[in-house]
């Protein structure tokens, strides 16, 4: 990677990319921004850093994409480094600013375009770049082999069948209703996450399967500005689902995976009509439906007693449209729900999105600083528990909890639901007599 950075900037390649992206929208946005400054107050980076004007979305775009177009791509490595710090270090593409702009300018899309330009010159955060080979070779960001993945699922199924009778994790079941996809950190580091999902699906009597390939719904290439690879990653998942003939792809509790599969993915993978070839459903939607339809029932004595709040993950709430569903689930599992302010589609980003978490140590200080806005929101609710339906938010909020001494327990929906759900009789494990086996 380092040799890439020694090469002179290929300004011709940049110009080509700029021309390719010179769409009506980008042209229009760059030319009508009236520099009114309303976007500034919408951005948590700006707010967290004591309203530093250089952190207003309009400034960030002008300093990067605006300059790139103005100079027609004739830029040097110093300029690209500046862009790198802005588009990865000062923006999570949360899209909140677009709600505040009088023209509805989509700043996030312009930031993503700059990421693509930087990527073309090898300027990408190491934490994202190093997953490229893994995605290409194994189809998942952690480089996990098919065997290891399937073994992990079997192991989880075996262990969990002791608690929920008849539980299986069906691999590659053709014609299942949903094909459940996960974030690779689950099989790699937290396989109990998969076990919890299995428990929920079993009790809800869901017709589900986990694919042996195409099971990674994350898309770090999307964060890295590598559109071609991002499209390929999403295609792998779509194709597997079509092969299996399932009715929908289900996404684990992950935010950007949903955005990738349902919104950005179709365009990155070349589906001109913007529709994924197969419906996509997020866990928040599924869990909401199970509770609503009584397929999962919560034991009232096991509901959360202490004040609890809900993290509106940007890619699930604002950019996923599921803020109501998340709140409906909270009604079933929490006795004392305290909403953050602002919330729902107007929520603030926690600062862990846009690639920040996988980008690792190099960006940690920055995200802990910008996360101050979220930390203060959490503190203001007085909640002792926070439900977080997104892996990256989860990590970020765990870190914010320490950094800002929030004193909250950070949990996912899966964790709370599996702990509080009533296991129907037929799924209860059979008690063995201590005296040993029956004689006849």
């Amino acid at each position: 990677m380092n040799e890439e950075l020694q090469k002179p900037v290929d300004t011709k390649a940049i110009k080509e990319l700029l021309d390719l992206n010179d769409s009506a929208r980008i042209r229009m946005w760059l030319s009508i921004c009236s520099r009114c400054g309303l976007c500034a107050e919408s951005c948590f980076f700006y707010l967290a850093k004591n309203k530093d004007p250089k952190l207003s979305p309009a400034y960030k775009v002008r300093a990067t994409l605006g300059e790139l177009y103005r100079r027609k791509g004739k830029v040097d490595r110093d300029f690209l480094k500046k862009c790198y710090d802005i588009v990865w270090g000062e923006c999570t593409t949360c899209k909140r600013c677009s709600l505040y702009c009088p023209f509805g300018i989509d700043i996030a899309t312009m930031i993503a375009t700059v990421r693509a330009v930087c990527n073309s010159q090898g300027v990408v955060p190491e934490g994202l770049l190093r997953t490229t080979d893994n995605y290409r070779d194994t189809g998942n960001q952690m480089g996990m082999s098919v065997e290891d993945f399937v073994d992990t699922c079997s192991w989880m199924a075996e262990e969990t069948a002791e608690e929920i009778r008849g539980l299986t994790i069906p691999i590659d079941k053709p014609g299942a209703r949903i094909m459940y996809t996960v974030n690779p950190r689950e099989p790699m580091y937290y396989p109990q996450d998969i076990a919890m999902a299995a428990k929920i699906f079993t009790v809800a009597e869901e017709d589900w399967t986990v694919p042996s390939t195409g099971w990674d719904c994350t898309n770090l290439a999307m964060f890295a500005g590598n559109r071609a690879l991002a499209g390929q990653i999403v295609k792998n998942m779509y194709q597997k689902a079509l092969e299996l003939g399932v009715q929908a792809i289900a996404i684990t509790e992950c935010g950007h995976a949903f955005r990738s599969a349902l919104f950005e993915g179709p365009y990155m993978a070349g589906y001109r009509n913007g529709k994924p070839p197969i419906p996509i459903v997020h866990s928040v939607q599924l869990f909401y439906e199970y509770l609503r339809d009584g397929r999962i029932k919560i034991d009232p004595d096991k509901m959360l007693e202490e004040p609890a709040t809900y993290q509106d993950a940007c890619n699930i709430s604002r950019n996923g449209g599921l803020w109501k569903e998340g709140r409906e689930i909270m009604k079933y599992i929490s006795k004392d729900f305290r909403d953050m302010e602002p919330n729902s589609e107007y929520n603030h980003c926690c600062g862990g999105g846009g690639g920040f978490i996988p980008m690792g140590g190099e960006f940690k200080k920055r995200r802990l600083e910008s996360g101050r806005v979220k930390a203060e929101q959490i503190r203001a609710t007085g909640a002792k528990t926070i439900i977080v339906p997104c892996h990256n938010c989860f990590d970020q909020i765990r870190d914010l909890n320490k950094e800002y001494d929030l004193g909250v327990k950070v949990v996912s929906f899966k964790e709370v639901i599996t702990e509080a759900m009533i296991i129907p009789e037929k799924f209860q494990p059979i008690e063995k007599d201590d005296e040993g086996d029956a004689q006849d």
Partner: protein
């Protein structure tokens, strides 16, 4: 003076209006053409309801969460735009000229009312200019061109007001009034002032992107 006046209110005015109208049409048509190829996302998720609501909430004062968070600015900004349109369109002096030239009858407002609106305009323009200088997050974005544009937009109103009240040399004021208005007209299609038209497709797009696709209010 009279020759200059005749030129400015004759051929120059024709030229200014033609550049204004044709310039805007060309800009919009060019963007539209480009969009058919490069902006499929704008067409794939079209929905009349979301598009119209996205526009509506930003045409009314305090219609969006963003405007409500800066209410003084928002009301100033709203009044600025209302006066900007209403005064030139419904001014008796202008409409007499339309009638003389083309026989078109456009309803006019009483001069006293137009006077008040012009003063409101000048005050709001001044507030917006000061805001640009004073608020750091606005100042950092502002270039010389932005200062020029706010001054250029205000100039016809100031000179028109002065001419009407016969403050200063009348003929000079009138000439400046027409000249500055013509400069403004020809600058509109080539600058951010093109937002008089582009506001609409821009808002419509984000209405689709966030509204149709996610059910999110872009206000």
């Amino acid at each position: 003076m009279n020759d200059l006046y005749d030129f400015l209110s004759g051929p120059a005015l024709w030229a200014a209006f033609i550049v204004f109208i044709v310039g805007l049409i060309v800009r919009v048509v060019y963007l539209f053409g480009l969009s058919k190829e490069r902006d499929r996302v704008a067409y794939n998720h079209a929905d009349l309801g979301w598009g119209l609501r996205s526009i509506f909430h930003w045409l009314v004062p305090l219609g969006s969460i963003s405007l409500r968070s800066q209410p003084v600015f928002s009301i100033t900004f709203f009044l600025f735009h209302v006066c900007l349109f209403v005064v030139p369109l419904f001014l008796l002096a202008h409409n007499m000229l339309w009638q003389e030239a083309f026989g078109i009858r456009i309803p006019s407002m009483p001069d006293s009312f137009a006077d008040i609106l012009t003063m409101v305009f000048i005050v709001t323009a001044a507030i917006l200019l000061v805001r640009r200088l004073v608020r750091p997050e606005v100042r950092i974005l502002t270039t010389a061109w932005d200062y020029f544009l706010i001054l250029l937009t205000s100039a016809p109103f100031v000179t028109g007001f002065l001419a009407y009240h016969q403050i200063g040399p009348y003929k000079l004021m009138m000439i400046l009034h027409i000249l500055l208005a013509e400069i403004l007209l020809v600058v509109i299609p080539f600058s951010k002032l093109g937002h008089i038209i582009l506001f609409f497709p821009s808002r419509v797009f984000i209405g689709f992107e966030m509204g149709t696709r996610r059910g999110v209010r872009t206000w």
